[in-house]
Subunit: 386 residues, 2 copies
């Protein structure tokens, strides 16, 4: 197949920052792209060959879009799967496959899948609605504390809650959900696996999410994770097993816990380029975006090792700021060696909105970590009018 | 100044592969761009915010385009300078400045500039036309062999010739030109200098052009050059002197000869991102394109050191092939670790047309050089119909 400067057309469902970063590589290879996104201000509206505005959950919109392209991929899981299944039945190549997406779209189904495939995961149970969960609780079968998770994406609000007291149950919405044992863990890790159509597979190094000691929010994604080699090998082995079980094609990000007693438990997966792999643009021989593209086009995979240590800091909108965005102190952080800001291209900031990220690379991890802290303390995502 | 996700507009004259690669960084920073190019198939027509088709040498076209933007830069030198001078007089920020471009656009003026500024260069002389040169020759003042160069860019055909016999003189066109002493050299080197508006300046490592032993064509651009440290320091020192003399803002590529007796002579310069710096996308902490952008926007410059050794191989159209392009064996080279093809996005190949380049990176230079040869031998730029 001739993909380069040819009539071949790649479709991407979703035009957010992940789509935008993927387009950087379709441009590099001169591969024609069609992008569908509901927003006319989608970050990926530029740099694609054709942009379509439309609802990713609407059957007809997704089906008609799929009919225009030769291979279809996603940058967001929350798309109309019935349309994808019909397109696949009619011969369209879709990666990840609609079948995989169905297994991932619901956290309840994901949980059952891990158990069935003997993939280590925290103990848990699925519930069709809130009432089922409350019945279970009243029967004394749910021990607090436990973790409650909404089964579906796109639930508006916080999809994960820790339930410590009966009072916490009152705050839960009436949706399909799962409960999970609250596992004491010492590290939150992630492994990105890439697998192409013919089954060639590679893993990226294990990354570590470092949390803010008080706010309990991920502050840094660190590659490589500062963990012992046996843990690292175990995490990669489990991630490979997950990718194989899903017969996944493309990038699969596997998020895991390293428990206090050094077990690895799979938390959840994302069947696409993922926040935990953004560091790869600057630090790796091949970025997760280029490798996603290589995988879904059945090209040979690129080297996943790192050239240098990499740390990623998310840029999220500051509380109390809504309106046209301003990246305060961005010039200050750009003056530091090895610092690269990525600005996603959203004109308007809102509290906690993902507006960009900053990658810090250095030959030395300790120095990278020091710089990351300096970056985190300096840059602020505010609005021009306060 | 707020450049990121703001109303700020950057104009780029020229929409070829250099413009296209620059846009990869304007997208990364979400900086609005306007591009002007004569071709509706220009590689940079995508990924800019607004594309205009028009003649870069036409006064009105360039002037009107300049009126739309806040800062103007170029990716090709051959543009209407009268329009730029008028725009600059009216307050537009233009980098590189029209004055610098005037000093560079003509090789005759360039030569005089080096001599005036005590920058080492091969001995030479400028001629208004062919007749002047022939008179000089008949007066016995031109010793053969010598190098003849057309003074202007955009001369259709070969702009450089070595004149060894009187018969060679008959092939010369009647244009403004220079003659230069033919200097025996052992290496052709280049240094990329970046300088921002406030005068912060950095050099990239010296690169080496390795020639095909028979064809006398550049085969590889190698970073770092395999030369002794004193030569490397001298080359960087001279490049800095050139950049300072021009008061250049942005990327300046300084091409040089290392003579048989280890002198460094400046050959010519390019006041923009340059072929000799393409390796920087994969090998350097900051690519030449990102640093050009940082420089012209007066942002702090990024680190110019390399993460790993880098070698660049140009992809040019094969002789005997004209028509829709096909990159034969591209999958084969993509299977090698550390190999990244860049496809510029020209649908039609022609003999010797620059269609793309391939970067090879490796921790080890010897291994990078071996892979580069493998790449060079494998990939072919041909047409789909032969």
């Amino acid at each position: 197949m001739n993909y380069f400067s040819s009539d071949f057309k790649l479709g991407i469902l979703g035009g957010g920052q992940l789509g935008k970063m993927l387009l950087s590589d379709t441009r590099k290879f001169d591969i024609q792209t069609f992008v569908l996104d509901p927003s006319d201000e989608a970050p990926a509206r530029l740099a694609c060959n054709n942009f379509f505005q439309g609802d990713l959950l609407d059957f007809d919109t997704v089906y008609r879009f799929g009919k225009l392209v030769d291979v279809l991929t996603i940058e967001i899981e929350n798309v109309n799967l019935d349309a994808l299944e019909k397109l696949e039945n009619e011969g369209l190549k879709i990666y990840p496959s609609p079948k995989t997406l169905r297994l991932i779209q619901s956290k309840a189904v994901q949980k059952e899948f891990y158990i069935k495939n003997k993939i280590p995961t925290a103990k848990g149970k699925a519930f069709k609605n809130l009432k089922e969960l409350l019945v279970e609780f009243m029967d004394g079968k749910l021990k607090m504390p436990f973790v409650w998770k909404s089964a579906r994406f796109g639930y508006d609000g916080n999809g994960v809650k820790i339930i410590r007291t009966p009072k916490d149950l009152e705050t839960l919405p009436d949706v399909e959900c799962i409960m999970e044992e609250l596992v004491p863990f010492k590290n939150e890790l992630a492994v990105i696996v890439v697998r192409n159509v013919k089954g060639e597979v590679k893993t990226y190094p294990v990354v570590e999410m470092e949390f803010h000691p008080e706010a309990n929010q991920v502050e840094y994604v660190i590659c490589p994770a500062r963990i012992d080699l046996p843990i690292s090998l175990k995490a990669q082995e489990i991630a490979l097993k997950v990718s194989k079980a899903y017969k996944h094609v493309g990038i699969l990000a596997v998020e895991m816990f390293q428990t206090k007693d050094d077990k690895i438990l799979v938390n959840e997966v994302a069947p696409r380029p993922h926040n935990s792999g953004h560091y790869s643009i600057e630090a790796s021989y091949t970025s997760q975006f280029e490798n996603h593209l290589r995988a879904i086009l059945n090209l040979p995979l690129g080297k996943t090792e790192s050239k240098v240590a990499g740390i990623m800091v998310n840029l999220v909108g500051e509380e109390g700021h809504t309106g046209n965005v301003k990246y305060k102190n961005i010039e200050k952080i750009m003056a530091i060696d090895g610092v690269t800001p990525h600005i996603y291209g959203k004109r308007e900031t809102r509290p906690f909105r993902k507006m960009g990220h900053v990658t810090i690379v250095n030959e030395n991890m300790t120095e990278a970590r020091r710089v990351a802290e300096e970056v985190k303390k300096s840059i602020r995502v505010i609005s021009t009018k306060q």
